[in-house]
Structures are given as C-alpha cells and as structure tokens.
Amino acid sequence: MATALKNIAQIIRSKNAGPFELTLDVLFSNREDFERAQKSGVLSAQTIAELYQVEIEDVLSVHFFAPAWAFKATIVRKISSGTAGDFDVFGAQQHAPLLDLEIPALDHAPDKM
C-alpha cells in the first residue's frame, strides 16, 4: 500500500548548507524503509524541483546515503540567509512539502529487483 513519506521516515528536516543553499534530509530507521524509498524512484531531482517550485537546475544534488539510511537533496535558496526579505534564516522550517510525499508500496515500485 502506498504511504506518506512521514509514515516511514524517522527524520524529515531542512537546514541551511551555507547561506546560499538549503539541504533536505530524510532519514529512515531501518534498511527496509530506506530501500523502499530508494527503489520507489519517487525521491528524485524532478520531485524536489516540483515540491519546492524551483527550476531543476536549482536542485544542486540528490543522494541516497546508505551508511545512514538517508536521502539528501540540496537546492538553491531563493534569498540568501538573513538578508532583506528572507523568511527562514536557519532554513529549519522548510521541510513540510516532503511530509506527505506519496511512496508507493515496494511491490509496485517501477524498478523492483
């Protein structure tokens, strides 16, 4: 059964990676959930660009990091941290668009092994 990312991830967070980038971390508490998310193909640069309403070029990187059962994506901040018009100096409250991202059941994943 498909489920929201928040139901299988232990940590979903955002934070500055320097004043010009925002980095998004999703951490899973076990290998099964990590692999389910990875194999689903949903966590991609395209998805991040759509969720965060940025150009695909402004998604600087997406990585799955197996040692930590983690997914990480980094995007360009539209306004650099702490200057006029910024709305989140630490970038610590920009994670919410990820929470309800739908992750299909492993059985229905396109590249199931």
């Binding site: 980095t23 990480k72 650099s80 941290s81 006029a84 709305f87 100096v89 409250q93």
Partner: protein, 457 residues
C-alpha cells in the same frame, strides 16, 4: 598514545551546558576541551555589524552568556592542565569579535588570579590581499554564488577566512594552553590535538564534525549539552555525558549529513573526508563507534572566505488580523500598501524593499499556495528596508497606515483593520546585511591568512 578524548561542552559557546555534564566529562580525563564559538547560520548581521563608539562587537547580553559558559570551562581546563580551544570567537570570528572573547577570558583570569600561556589567532583577511589573489585568478565561487568582482571586496565590511587545523596545531606546539581563534572551519578545534598526535586525519575530522555541535548528535538532541569523542587509531567513539541522552546509529549518522550538501564528502580546508566506507555501530546503549572514514588530500590549499556588505536599514511593524472579513482581504491589503508606498515614495524607486510576512498563511513558506483563507487570525510582520533608518521607518509607517484604514466591500469594523501589540508601532531594527562573499581563496600555506600571537596571561 592509544586514544585521545575530546570534550565538546556545547554546540556554540554561549548556548550553555549543565554543570553535571562538564563534571562527568572531566571525570573521563579528557585531553582537550574544544568549543565552537560561532556560525554563519544566524545570517550575515553578526559578521557585518559595525559597532559605534561606545559599543563592542557583541551585545552585552551575548558577552554575558559567553562569560557564563567560559568561566567553568577555563577553570576546569586549567585544573586538569589540558588545553581549552575556542574557535570562531564571538560568533563571526572577525577581529572585533576575537577581542571581545579575549576580554572575557582576561576578566575571568583576573577574577580568579589565573595565569597561563595564551594564543590568539586572527582570521580577518586584508582586502588588498584578496584583490591581489583575485588578479592572480586564485579566487573562485563556492556553490551557487557569482564570480567575485573587485567591487564586492570593497563593499565588504569585513572579510574572514575559515582556518583549518594547522594554525591550532601550531599554537599547541608553541605550548599555548588557552587558544582563542577567529573564524575557523567548525571541526578544526576538535581535530587539531588528535592530528598533532598522529591520529588519522579522516577519523579525526569526521569525529570533529559531529563533536562541534555538542549533544545535537544525541537523542534527545540538545545544542546546550556536552558530547565526548574518543579517537583511537582505527575508529572513534561518541558518547553524550548527560545520562538522559544516548548516541544512536541514526543520531550519529544523521549528524554526519548535517548542514552540508554532499553526504559522501565532508569538505574542508586542505581536502575532504570520504564517508562512503564509513560504518556506524552501536557498541552499547549510549555510544556509537565509527570507522572507515578516509581523508583525501587536496594538492592545493583553498580557504573559504566570508564577507558581508550593507544592504540598508530595516524597520518592522508587528500586527494581527482577527476580523473574519478582513481575513479574506489580505492580498488586497498587501497590494494596496505596495501601490500606495510606490506612489508616495516614487523618488526612492528601486532603493527600498517592502515585504509582508503573513503568519498563519504561509509566512514561513511564502512561495507556496496561500489560497486557503485562515479561519481564526493571522499575524503580519511588515518589513521595510531602505538606505536610511528614517526612510525605512517612513515606508513601514505608510504601509501599515494604508492597511489599517483601507476600505473594502463588506467591511464591518470600520475603526481599523489591524491590531498592533506594541507602541511604537514601527520598530527600527537596524542595519541589514547580506553575505556578498562566499568564495575560496588559494594560498600556498594553510596558515598564511592567520596570525598567531602567543603571550602570558
């Protein structure tokens, strides 16, 4: 030496820590106490701010919290005869911030009659030097920033470089027991002693990256509590000193990703730590062991530069709307305020900014769809930024006056559309800066930009 124990009392000096955690840490006989004093994370204000004649680089409240944290650390380190290393002093790590931190230490030393060998290491970089390196084509952008232009250098109020471990190792070799440094790459203070004693650089820097945030890498996490790192020749172990916290595989692995873009590479001056073969293992209920992290040396020495320039002066007004009809008019209010301000201040066109932070309706994520009408109330923070504080205040005042008295169809409460919690309505918030320099500069020597001064206190 078989192992070195590094005590990190808190995420940032001034954030505090329980005395019981420091006491427990000292019972473990650490070889060094190291602490991070700052960050770019809170924005460019701290680097850019220019104190007036009767001000120091930091507010009195910040100096007070620095002193409150530093006193027990200094006493503990001197009693145990181990070094105390503070990097990124005074938050931004410029010379005025370093001097503020030095005065805190001297005041504590005088109070207790303490004497020790002290080192200060500056991190402020001369503009002429950056101009020269730029001409030599030895400056490059870091991440999504533009190529550096000569006028950026001139516009920077001050420029700091992030030192690696080498200036700290040099000060330790000179016998300094207390080291206070300007801007430093966060792990440098924690990795310097292990590297000096021949421990693996990759393990030392990876351990340092986790230690630099104190107990944030524990569960439950805290930026105001201590973490102990023990490095051996093939691994390192992390353990929180407060028995209510524990390090877990996830908490430590998660912190290895924290505030950086590439999970496989821990970038820093002189090279990077390759984490692709790192292994995280819970060795007991509260401790995690890590191994496999490997340092990859950069044949060239690139140092990160940070600079801040003045954008203008900010005035804010804080207000709220509770009227249910008013809540349907927020877009109309904001558009009308923009129109009226642009009209009244047409002579300043292009020289000011007006922003509305609408809390309760995507104030935290303003690019996102705000079509849903809030049910109860919203808060609106009006932000005006202009070339002078007086202009910013005038613009802010005009915007909130327009909204306060704006008529609209169906209006019932004709006395005013906004509630203000404060008088004065418009609050001058001082200068606004931006990071206008976030670049790498190439040096032949990793210590070249940093001046060490060793003296007796």
């Amino acid at each position: 030496m078989e192992e070195i124990r590094v005590l990190s009392p808190t995420a940032i000096l001034g954030y505090g820590f329980p005395q019981a955690s420091l006491d427990e840490g000292m019972r473990r006989k650490p070889h060094v106490i190291a602490v991070d004093g700052g960050s770019t994370d809170a924005g460019p204000y701290y680097l850019g701010f220019e104190p007036g004649q009767n001000e120091s680089g930091q507010s009195g409240a910040f100096l007070e919290s620095l002193s409150r944290d530093t006193e027990p650390l200094l006493l503990a380190a001197l009693e145990a005869k181990i070094p105390l290393i503070i990097g990124s002093a005074g938050f931004a790590g410029g010379n005025i911030h370093l001097m503020g931190m030095l005065s805190v230490i001297q005041t504590i030393a005088a109070k207790h009659g303490l004497h020790f060998k002290m080192a200060t290491i500056t991190a402020e970089v001369d503009k002429a030097h950056v101009h020269q390196r730029l001409q030599e084509n030895r400056v490059r952008p870091l991440g999504p920033v533009d190529q550096l232009q000569p006028e950026d250098i001139d516009a920077s109020i001050r420029i700091v470089g992030q030192m690696g471990v080498e200036p700290f190792i040099d000060a330790l070799e000179q016998g300094a027991q207390v080291i206070v440094a300007g801007r430093a790459n966060d792990p440098s203070m924690f990795a310097a002693l292990p590297i000096l004693h021949g421990f693996d650089r990759g393990l030392a820097l990876h351990m340092a990256k986790i230690l630099e945030c104190g107990a944030i890498a524990a569960e439950p996490g805290s930026g105001s509590d201590a973490l102990l790192g023990t490095i051996r020749h093939d691994s390192f172990i992390l353990e929180p000193l407060n028995p209510e916290r524990r390090c877990t595989r996830t908490s430590v692995a998660a912190h290895s990703l924290y505030e950086k873009s590439d999970p496989y590479k821990l970038l820093g001056p002189g090279g990077y730590v390759d984490l692709s073969a790192s292994r995280f293992e819970e060795i007991n209920e509260r401790s995690v062991m890590v191994n496999g992290s490997r340092f990859v040396k950069d044949p060239e020495c690139w140092i990160k530069l940070e600079g801040a320039s003045l954008v203008g002066y900010r005035t804010i007004a804080v207000s709220g709307i509770h009227d249910p009809v008013g809540l349907t008019q927020i877009d109309h209010f904001i558009e009308s305020a923009h129109e009226a301000v642009n009209d009244k201040f047409s002579d300043l066109r292009g020289k000011f900014q007006l922003h509305f932070h609408v809390y309760g309706r995507n104030g935290v994520m303003p690019e996102f769809d705000a079509s849903v009408i809030p049910q109860n109330e919203v808060g609106i923070v009006i932000e005006a930024v202009a070339e002078s504080q007086a202009q910013a205040t005038s613009i802010c005042a005009h915007a909130r006056t327009v909204i306060l008295h704006l008529g609209f169809p169906g209006r019932v409460s004709t006395a005013g559309n906004l509630a203000f919690p404060f008088s004065p309505l418009d609050i001058p918030a001082g200068p606004v800066y931006r990071f206008n320099m976030y670049h790498l500069i190439q040096e032949d020597d990793p210590c070249a930009l940093f001046n060490t001064n060793v003296f007796e206190v």
